[in-house]
Symmetry: C2
Subunit: 215 residues, 2 copies
């Protein structure tokens, strides 16, 4: 059991190191030895968990969607909003998430690695919530959940990219707030609008409530 736990920790340390290196150098320029040096594990340990650079990249990509974990909300649109702000906030500090996002938007990620996977996984995750929102009567009748969800995922990807390019993501929370201000009136029933919280500091507040409940 202790052995298994150590293996899990080693695997996580490698993933975090790989995320940081992919974030800084991109897929093409990253080498296994750069990850080894960062993770401070043996070559044997690394190859035990990840036999190739491709498998390392794939694992980093697969870690992305869990970063959207937020407390459930009675209003499902609020829960979707919360996911976007929490991911935006975590992008500021988490190298694994940053590396994963870079691999997603990086066209150089090779064919053997499913770099489009996170786009699909986010869309599936949001579809579940959007369908619950529909059942609860939160959505305008004109909403096509699939279209709206894919707009949110694609739009978010571009907004964080532009924010990274222009301000190293310092204004990302503001940009996410602007996204919601423009989109919510077209998807939420009017009675919900005033009660939804899409202010720029929403991510900070949700994260600190998460930390409180975990401590």
């Amino acid at each position: 059991m202790a052995k298994q736990e150590r293996a899990i920790r080693t695997r996580r340390a490698i993933l975090e190191a790989a995320g940081a290196v992919f974030d800084e150098y991109g897929y093409a320029s990253t080498t296994i030895s750069m990850v080894l040096e960062r993770a401070e594990v043996t070559k044997g340990a690394l190859y035990f968990h990840f036999p190739s650079k491709e498998s390392l990249a794939q694992a980093v990509l697969d870690e992305q969607v869990p970063f959207g974990a937020v407390p459930p909300q009675p209003c499902k649109l609020q829960e979707i909003i919360d996911m976007t702000f929490v991911v935006a906030q975590r992008l500021l500090t988490n190298p694994l998430l940053r590396g994963s996002v870079r691999l997603t938007v990086d066209q150089a990620t090779p064919v053997g690695v499913d770099h489009a996977g996170p786009f699909r996984q986010w869309a599936e995750r949001l579809m579940t919530l959007m369908e619950q929102a529909r059942e609860q009567g939160e959505l305008l009748p004109t909403v096509e959940p699939r279209d709206t969800v894919e707009l949110l995922v694609g739009g978010f990807a571009g907004i964080q990219l532009m924010s990274r390019a222009l301000t190293n993501r310092e204004d990302l929370a503001h940009r996410v707030s602007v996204l919601w201000a423009h989109i919510l009136p077209s998807i939420a029933v009017p009675g919900l609008l005033l009660g939804l919280d899409s202010k720029a500091d929403r991510g900070v507040r949700v994260l600190s409530s998460l930390e409180l409940s975990e401590s």
Copy 2:
């Protein structure tokens, strides 16, 4: 004069070849000799126009915003809508534009090249039109033109990225149409909404009217 014209053509041929190679391989993996081979020009001609890979990338980036050229419209929001559909349409066929967009979203583009330049240039271009839209009474009083414009630029960047990853951009025009359907009700005065054309085939129609007027 003939000599100058030849120089302009050679420069353009190099740029188009460079765009295609950057699109296929990304900045890091592109070499000058790959561009030379594609452009079918002499090494001397290439270095005369572009002394380095960085200068070539910068020139490809600087060509991006002119691809947004559309016929002027009485309604300036329609003109902004047209730019997005025309760029989406041109992305399907134009390697120079595709290469330029890839360099913009590519985090590996080196520090010496202003890969964030197109984000700023698109925003400036749209700001001019958005201010005209405001003067003409097209915008709701709540619109902050800078926020809206940057949302459009960032959102478009992500939407084309997701469309490229999932369908090789085959559904890009539909995605742009979905973007407008979600955003227009928050920015345009209600009286305009029915008259604005943001159907998925808008880009094809605007481009064919351009070709007719040029022939």
